[in-house]
Symmetry: C2
Subunit: 480 residues, 2 copies
Amino acid sequence: MSDTGVTVKKDVDFSEWYVEVVLKAELADYAPVKGCMIIRPDAYAVWEKIQQVVNEKIKATGHRNTYFPMFIPEAFLKKEAEHFEGFTPEVAWITQGGDTPLEEKLAVRPTSETIMYAMFSKWIRSWRDLPLKINQWCNIVRWETKATKLFLRTREFLWQEGHTAHASAEEAEAEVMWALNMYKDVVESYLAIPVLIGTKSESEKFAGALYTTALESIMPDGKALQMGTSHNLGQHFAKVFDVKYIGEDKADHYVWQTSWGITTRLIGAMIMVHGDDKGLVMPPKVAPTQVVIVPIPFKGLEAEAIAAKTKEIQETLKAKGISVILDDRQEYTPGWKFHQWELKGIPIRIELGPRDLKAAQVVMVRRDTGQKTPVKEADIPATVDQLLQEIQDNMLAKARAILADKTTTVKDYEEFKRVVEGKGGFLKAAWCGSPQCEAKIKDETGATIRVRPFQKETPTSGCVYCGKEAKEVVYFARSY
Amino acid sequence: MSDTGVTVKKDVDFSEWYVEVVLKAELADYAPVKGCMIIRPDAYAVWEKIQQVVNEKIKATGHRNTYFPMFIPEAFLKKEAEHFEGFTPEVAWITQGGDTPLEEKLAVRPTSETIMYAMFSKWIRSWRDLPLKINQWCNIVRWETKATKLFLRTREFLWQEGHTAHASAEEAEAEVMWALNMYKDVVESYLAIPVLIGTKSESEKFAGALYTTALESIMPDGKALQMGTSHNLGQHFAKVFDVKYIGEDKADHYVWQTSWGITTRLIGAMIMVHGDDKGLVMPPKVAPTQVVIVPIPFKGLEAEAIAAKTKEIQETLKAKGISVILDDRQEYTPGWKFHQWELKGIPIRIELGPRDLKAAQVVMVRRDTGQKTPVKEADIPATVDQLLQEIQDNMLAKARAILADKTTTVKDYEEFKRVVEGKGGFLKAAWCGSPQCEAKIKDETGATIRVRPFQKETPTSGCVYCGKEAKEVVYFARSY
């Protein structure tokens, strides 16, 4: 563990604070390869928790995990023109195997639509083979030229990509929404991060999709972060890769497809949204360690009794399925341990000293609020359960308040620019629907349309940029 | 599902039989990229089961999962000379990102020792940081020039690699044996494949290791398959990557290291060892589906009653944690379904027809023996439990018999050559310990030393090749 705590305050230099928390809480480290990172055990455990929850949800609905090669022939990428243009600028290319140059260079997958659908074309014969619903957990490479940022933008990251083929447009649409809402539940209920959902504008959609839906949240520095996407691919790829089925009507039909994904950047969002000046704050439902017990050492017989009692508490909590560490190391002081476990964001700390022992109690300390409460020995398991839930709820409520606070309804472009430069966050504004206005706003302010909400509001003013008749109210923001 | 069963008999053309089973049981498919494969859901589910079991075992012993970049700078690979020589002939190289040539080409990981230990050097400071025990599940690339084979040898595969650093040689040795025995248990208890364990000879050890231990089994065609390895790296890499710690004695020491791994080739071994002329036979403990229920259709009221009853049986078994499919599709006949599920190796089939309904019973059919037994409705859950265990045990017992049958003790080189060319399998033979004899045997017969057993037998004859005094009895075989 690192020897010092976080030295930068979150509201003084957010970016520097973030890097310090990630490195000092040992969530990740810079790799020796530029733009790459190492996901260390405490962060990887959060990813495993996300995997477990998502796997349960996708398997319960008939999706199955699979693994496709990460090498994609250049010719495949080229088949869907929009897709190729969207991805080739950031593709890493394999050109050599051993000492031998390859005949055709191979892309390291930036996403797997093309290689998967080439196989769908072979596997899908009739309506009996539909729907085909698969998923894979894998690494993805995008050779970023922009500055990279731990978890949020690295040249390699981990993700999950769901890919489905359906007999009808309606089924595909339902699948898109199913995936989006599944993600919303995972992100809000487990990571305690509230999100907006909606569709992307044409210019922000996935390269090759009919339309893209997304989850967006706002970070404490006022920048939006895309937390996941679910695409309706229509029949674009089906036509290019010839994915057809013979219907019950004996005729040939192209399938309707979807793809959807979330990535390890969710871990970055969790750190940003919940962390504080002491370091990380882990939502209990994804925390690799939910409780840490620190015995307060004392000489003599009492030390032995304290050691025995803390061990006993650990066993009791473990038996209840709570992940708990007993930090009985002799080489560190209690104060040093407190700081370390606060830095690492463990939701609950239990202290037990000589006076507590006499009083048959412990002191429980909440990481989210710092609140200390004496708890009678007999009440420990029930109190831990209750506190973990309270902390989870409180973290989501706090994050909801931040999201609300960082959302501003703007009436005109002057106000728009003022808010973008000022507090940032989401700008709710009327839009005429023209890509030109969207592009001008992006050029002039750096803000893009993050989502067009599903529940349409009637605009009460003209387009925030051109003033002409607005078609809808959308959310703009500068983003990561 | 494919429309036809396996057309080649296992003992007529083993190699062709294997390919047919893999493709027709939809375990894998050839990828559009040469030498690569797609792991399809039924095989990936076996891998997930292996992951679950291994994760439980490694986490219970204090190992933690992590993720390192798959890109390794050429300079890193070069640091350990033996390691570099061992791996560079089959490294895939990234030389271009987007349109830009890279300054230093990057290897796609053939294994992660070098990049991991560069970080160990940074993370490990004192004895307090030891042992460091991490693991990662990831994809691995080795640009094979030999003919590839589904699951057994492909240019990309999935594996798990454990890496540990210890304060003493003794601890590292214990770790090597712990990993080896953990693998033995997973392979024997779950995949029902018996293995030999021991050390590799110098010429067969991992490039850069002090010594390598391995699990080896024999396939039905008489060729050996390496099922996993556990390496003692000694201080080789520690010295090259400067991985040192300050001991309790305040002095600097190099750490002692181990690495160990198993790969998706285990799935190939499972198919080879257990499959038969009807297709795959899945060991119950790793089968994605343990039971398939096939209602035998009948017109009229009975059809409804059968549908209701099979549904009820499915729910009962599900509630007991058994993975069960009810195949009530109308578009296929029972006979077609029987063949399909036999092809896919489901351990138990339950049939329910009009006569069974009347008799308040079902017919249970074991995939491993084909045995059919009527089972009273009330006895179904208990009988399924018992049968699954019996099948698992029977499969291991059968495989043990094959292993014993395919192991021959040979006295001299004439016999050695005769057995290699004949039944193949393991050849137990005395060896003088000289790499020259080992190399000659390999050149002349294609057989290599697969393991040097831990429990040494006293040789009763001279070296099988040179006739001089033998040091030990080892297992030779031709291998995959």
